[in-house]
């Protein structure tokens, strides 16, 4: 396994004197193999971005371990050669005083100093075209001169230039229009066949469904269900997964109201402690209480 999380927990201290705590991530275990897209789904505040930041070494887990190639995941240049993240709000990821070409030049300086200028310029243009940006239209511009979708694609191009092995993509397609979004998803699908592993964080179930081999549903920091995408979406076992699926707007159907949550498979099978493996690789948590 390339990336592995074992019983990862993250507790934040909040309030003036750190008197209160929030458990943002609770006992989460999963892995991502090379060439695999794993999608992480859940409502806002469910801990998706916190998990992404932990994996990227931007914050330290309170409990459990995160390893990459068997070594602890730690922020640093070596780690970032292999692992990069792209986040939700593209405006916050760019330094507003640098034009796009400067941003790419800085990547060369830190990660690929040996590449000749001319070749680097060509790589930049290829990466931009891969994300369907016209290099002449974006290279000379400051971040505020680009639209939200253009910026987001610029970030993806930047990650591609690093030739990384794992991409943590946190809601990267939420601001893209439908056709660009498909282009970006198809691009990720292509990179995956070349061995890139992707943790695809999204709240859009249809995109996760399109791209991911495996799906993890997160709620209040804990995994409620995970398994092969077709099983999780085709045969959702947890009432919460069913509720999410019913809220998805569909093109040719009316918006369904939440259906009867149904029974708790976990209890019916008399399971206890951890997740129940209902089918090969398809795990589900108890629906009745968050603690059992």
């Amino acid at each position: 396994m390339m990336l592995r999380l074992d019983h990862v927990t993250k507790v934040f201290r909040i309030g003036a004197f750190g008197g209160r705590t929030v458990t943002a991530v609770k006992d989460v275990s999963f892995d991502v193999a090379p060439g695999e897209v794993v999608s992480l789904i859940g409502e806002s505040g469910s801990g998706k971005s916190t998990l992404g930041r932990l994996i990227l070494g931007l914050s330290r887990a309170t409990g459990g371990t995160i390893t990459f190639d068997g070594r602890p995941a730690r922020a640093g240049k070596d780690y970032y050669r292999d692992v990069q993240g792209i986040f939700q709000d593209p405006f916050s990821s760019f330094n507003p005083v640098f034009k796009a070409d400067r941003v790419f030049a800085m990547i060369k300086e830190s990660y690929h100093p040996g590449v000749p200028e001319g070749e680097w310029a060509e790589r930049v243009r290829t990466a931009l075209r891969d994300v369907r940006l016209n290099p002449d239209q974006v290279l000379g511009k400051f971040p505020h001169q680009l639209s939200g979708g253009q910026l987001q694609r610029l970030l993806i191009a930047r990650a591609l230039l690093l030739e990384i092995r794992l991409l943590v993509a946190d809601e990267i397609t939420s601001m893209l229009d439908a056709s660009t979004r498909i282009d970006v998803l198809n691009l990720l699908a292509e990179l995956k066949t070349r061995g890139l592993g992707v943790l695809y964080i999204t709240h859009d179930l249809s995109l996760g469904n399109y791209l991911a081999e495996r799906t993890i549903v997160l709620r209040e920091g804990a995994v409620v269900e995970m398994g092969p995408t077709g099983d999780v979406f085709g045969d959702p076992l947890h009432p919460y997964t069913r509720e999410l699926l019913s809220a998805v707007p569909r093109l040719h159907e009316d918006w369904a109201d939440a259906e009867d949550p149904g029974t708790c498979l976990y209890h019916e099978r008399g399971a206890s402690g951890g997740l129940l493996e209902a089918a090969p690789g398809h795990l589900v948590a108890c629906a009745r209480s968050k603690t059992c």
Partner: protein, 313 residues
Amino acid sequence: MSLQVSELRVHYRTLRGDVRALDGMSFELGDGEILGLVGESGCGKSTLGKSLIRMDGRMRHVGGRVVLDGRELPIADDRAMNDFRFKEVSLIPQYAMSALNPTRKIRRMVGELLRSRGAALDAAELERRMDQVGLPREVLDRYPIELSGGMKQRMVMVISTLLDPSLLIADEVTSALDVSTQKAVARALLGFRDSGYVKSMIFVTHDIALTHHIADTIMVMYAGRLAEKAPADALVKAPRHPYTRLLVDSLPEVGVRYAERRLEGIAGSPPSLLDPPPGCRFRARCPLAGDECAEEPPVAEVAPGHHVACWKA
């Protein structure tokens, strides 16, 4: 007619010349109408929203008019527009959630905002509207950072509509929300219209399925111009513009197993708005393009309320 936009041209000044972000947009919006606005990223949706409320320093009103409820909006005059902002037109910008002032508790922020508009805070009304969108009252005594994305978004919605503007422009307000919150926010927007807090609305989004559920009419923009505008159902089920057709075909759906099957995007990218080519702007990417497309297609009404700018529609 609540809003009439005719031949609107708005450019951004840059060192390399003008970016023609809106290049002759015309459309109308009826009383009580919710207009869904979609289009490729960079086509000018946010520019349209900004033009109707506040142009930034680099924006230039080059031509065209905007009339709201029979009065012309002085969009080029930042000062004169003050009489209209919040009261007549209100905008919830893209990334509004991250724009809330982090150092103020919500209650204080709302008070300050209203005072700057010369209005007093009607606490009862504020609370009633918060109830309506499912926000607990203690939210008022919290800092923005202590709210979830969906809560912030609903709070921004309530604040932007407190003075009952005639027109509300909501720019990708649901894009960052999970499906259940998205549904709640979309329904809250419908409620605002039904309760008469806003008369009409422009709902900018990339989610065509979502806009189909809440909009009466959907307008598709391409490279600074109108491509197609039609009743929501017609636009989704029987689109006439080649761009709209490709767009609708590129939507992934849940409940479908894709495995190795891939949907297709639209090859190529939109033309540069610095110096757009003559003729139909979609020409270089259009599978139906022919010789006549070297000339700009006019916007034609092909069925009642169904407008298309394409020679072959």
